[in-house]
Amino acid sequence: MIDRRFIGWKSEPVVVEVEKGQLRLFAEATGETNLIYFDEEAAKAAGHPSLPAPPTFAFCLFNLAGQPYSYLRLMGVDIACLLHGEQAFEYLAPYYAGDALTLATEIADITTKKNGALDLVEARTDAINQRGQLCVKQRTVLIVRNESKL
C-alpha cells in the first residue's frame, strides 16, 4: 500500500522543449495522417506558427522531460504492476514545436480498492508555456496492483 503522506506532494517545476522530430515520431507512431503534424509548411498554411502538438502529446511531456515515473519511484512503485486507469485533458491554449513548457505535478489523491489489492494514484499536471500561459491541464489516475499476478 502506498503511503498516504504522498497526497499533496508537488514536483519541482521541470522545463521541456517541444521538438519537431519528437512530434513527427509521435505522429508516425500513432498513425496520424494529417500533414500539419509532419510538415511545417502544411502547418503554416493551416495557420499554425510551427508543427502543433496533437491532443494527447501533453501526456508525454513528463516522460520526455527525462523524469519518467519520478513520483512512482519515490513511492516505491514497481512499474511492472502499473496500469493506466483514467486520463483527462483540458485545453486552454495551443502549443507548438519550439515552445518550452514548464510542468508541475501534484498528487491529488491516493485511494485503495479491492481490499488493498489496488492503489489508485491521482496526479494533476499543468503545462505552462514560455509566455506564462497555461496551455493544458491534465488529470491522470494510475492503478498500482499490489500483487503482480492479480
Binding site: Q22, L25, F26, A27, E28, A29, T30, G31, E32, T33, N34, A46, G47, P54, P55, T56, F59, C60, N63, L64, P68, Y69, I79, A80, C81, L82, L83, H84, G85, E86, Q87, A88, F89, E90, Y91, P94, R139, S148, K149
Partner: protein, 123 residues
C-alpha cells in the same frame, strides 16, 4: 456517427509509440518482461488508444475544437488487436456551441470495450 478502425497494433507500432511518447515501460515492448510480470504478452499503451480517439474526434470537431475530455481504460489492448472507435452525441450547449460526445473504443475481434469516455467539442 461513423466509426473508425485503427490497427492492428503490432509490436512495431508499440516500439514506435514507446519512442514517440517517451514511455519506455518494458511491459509494452518486451515480451520477456511482460511474462515475468505475469502477463501473457505485451499489451498496448492506453495512451495509444487515446491518440486514436483524438484522431477519430478530429473528424467531427473544428480545428482546435476539442475543448476537454476524459477517458477510462477499462481493459488492456493485447498486441495485434484491431480497435474500432465510436461516438454519439449526448449533449448540446447552444450558448457556447459545444457538443458532448460519449466515446467508446472496442476490440474489433470480440467487441470488448477497452476505453470509454466523454469529450466536449466545438463541431
Amino acid at each position: 456517427m461513423p466509426t473508425r478502425t485503427f490497427g492492428p497494433v503490432t509490436r512495431t507500432i508499440l516500439a514506435l509509440y514507446a519512442g514517440g511518447s517517451g514511455d519506455h515501460n518494458p511491459i509494452h515492448i518486451d515480451s520477456d518482461f511482460a511474462h515475468s510480470a505475469g502477463q501473457s504478452d505485451v499489451f498496448a499503451h492506453g495512451m495509444l488508444s487515446m491518440a486514436y480517439l483524438a484522431q477519430y474526434i478530429s473528424g467531427f470537431a473544428s480545428a482546435g475544437g476539442l475543448r476537454s475530455w476524459s477517458v477510462r481504460f477499462i481493459a488492456v489492448t493485447p498486441v495485434n488487436a484491431t480497435l474500432t472507435c465510436s461516438a454519439h452525441v449526448i449533449g448540446w450547449d447552444e450558448s457556447c456551441g459545444e457538443a458532448t460526445l460519449a466515446l467508446t473504443v472496442r476490440r474489433t475481434d470480440d467487441g470488448k470495450r477497452t476505453v470509454i469516455g466523454e469529450a466536449v467539442i466545438a463541431p
